[in-house]
């Protein structure tokens, strides 16, 4: 397998502080309402506990990206050296087909520029030998950058509950599921 960078979302560590999402916003200053990275609380139907658990998600830089396949103007390309999916906004005509088609809701519509945009995996930072800003900012190391060609996937889940299963797209994200909360009872003390 060739190099494919992706995110490791460690839901066991995530405390839902939104620092990753805020760091992304601070880095790129997206327009109001445009959010590249979102922190989703797991619904009670999946995680029925008083403790909450979260997935911090952005673009998954899929092996076979729908956005790239459906874009009529070839505004997306996949970098050969690390598999990142990059959107060239200057080519975008704002048809919204990528926004409609991505099952993960990654591309967003910029109402000011009237074009789509999405998480770039901070590829300029990567090229400079630095980490994506979300990874760098997480205070509990709940988001990590991984290379799917080399990473030991023991204990990692490819399609976690609460995350759309799309094997044909093969999203470059892996999860660690949240552990069950520990209930401490008086008689246990």
């Amino acid at each position: 397998m060739t190099k494919q960078l992706g995110f490791f979302v460690d839901s066991e560590r995530c405390i839902g502080c939104f620092t990753c999402a805020m760091a992304c916003k601070n880095q790129y200053h997206q327009e109001k309402g445009v959010v590249w990275r979102k922190v989703y609380p797991l619904k009670e139907e999946i995680y029925p506990h008083k403790e909450r658990a979260f997935y911090s998600l952005a673009c998954n830089h899929c092996e076979n990206p729908t956005c790239l396949n459906v874009c009529p103007v070839k505004a997306y390309y996949k970098r050969e050296k690390d598999g990142l999916v990059v959107h060239e906004q200057e080519k975008c005509i704002g048809c919204g087909n990528c926004i409609r088609s991505c099952p993960y809701g990654a591309p967003q519509y910029n109402p000011v520029l009237k074009k789509a945009e999405k998480c770039s995996f901070c590829h300029q930072r990567i090229d400079d030998g630095r980490l994506p800003i979300c990874v760098l900012s997480c205070p509990v190391d709940a988001i990590q950058m991984i290379d799917l060609a080399e990473v030991d996937t023991t204990g990692m889940v490819r399609f976690a509950p609460g995350f759309p299963k799309q094997p044909s797209l093969n999203p470059s994200v892996r999860f660690r599921l949240p552990k069950l909360p520990v209930v401490v009872r008086r008689e246990d003390l």
Partner: protein, 266 residues
């Protein structure tokens, strides 16, 4: 996340009307050589005008309408590019037909145009069946669009039919109305037994006044009118068009996207 996407509603419905109209003229031409060139040219002129109106409407859904020509850049993988190119070719064939068929009709050109129209509907079906909409990530968009083409093509085609071919076109319309009614009533009920997003789509469709407006105005009422009058009135297409526009609004606004349930059950 979803909106009514008015330009796309107009584009898809009007282009399917145009393709349906050409399909009807083709069937009439094959069934019996009773089409006068002038009548056929007028029919194709209407089809071309309607298609052009739809194409103009579609431009307004682009953030940058000036880039519309670039929409055919990615023919290798984007069905939207293929749809855009196919629509352009279909319009060119319509224009060629209006110019060429002054003295006599050309069955070859008519059949080729109808086949290109069918391919355009197929590419539309592929464009609107992305993985993000599980309820539509299958053959259904093509089926819906084909039904629209048959309904609108036959109901408008009645205006261009001679006494000999009118019964055939009326039968096509009646059968299309019955098929459309069955399909549109059954499909949301099947979705209810599907995965979470599919089930939500079924619930949203069934709870939408637009959906029931589409069923009653666009399908049941025209059938009742045909049944009562024992003929297909020339104004019936207006009611059917309203029904199709309502149905397409449901298609765009009430089909649920997977990203809306992130963190929940799929």
């Amino acid at each position: 996340m979803n909106t009514y996407e008015t330009p796309l509603i107009l584009f898809t419905v009007l282009s399917q009307l145009s393709i349906g109209l050409v399909a009807m003229s083709t069937l009439r031409q094959i069934a019996g050589p009773d089409i006068e060139p002038n009548k056929l040219r007028m029919e194709w002129l209407v089809a071309g005008g309607v298609l052009l109106a739809g194409m103009i409407a579609s431009i307004f859904h682009l953030g940058h309408p000036g880039g519309m020509v670039q929409a055919i850049t990615n023919l290798g993988s984007a069905w939207l590019s293929r749809e855009a190119l196919g629509t352009g070719v279909f319009l060119a064939l319509l224009v060629a037909g209006v110019i060429i068929m002054r003295e006599k009709t050309s069955l070859g050109l008519i059949v080729v145009t109808a086949l290109v129209g069918l391919l355009v509907i197929f590419s539309m079906g592929m464009t609107y069946s992305p993985p993000s909409f599980p309820a539509m990530n299958n053959v259904l968009p093509f089926v819906f669009f084909f039904i629209t083409a048959m309904l609108l093509g036959a109901s408008v085609g009645v205006l261009f039919s001679s006494d000999t071919t009118l019964p055939m076109v009326s039968r096509i319309l009646t059968v299309s109305l019955i098929v459309g009614l069955v399909v549109y009533l059954i499909v949301p009920c099947i979705w209810l037994s599907g995965g979470e997003i599919m089930r939500q789509t079924g619930e949203q469709w069934l709870a939408s006044p637009l959906y029931w407006g589409r069923i009653v105005i666009g399908l049941a009422l025209p059938l009742a009118i045909i049944w009562t009058l024992k003929k297909t009135p020339g104004w019936l297409w207006v009611i059917i068009l309203v029904g199709e526009l309502l149905g397409r609004a449901v298609f765009f606004a009430n089909t649920v996207h997977t990203a809306t349930n992130m963190g929940g059950i799929y």
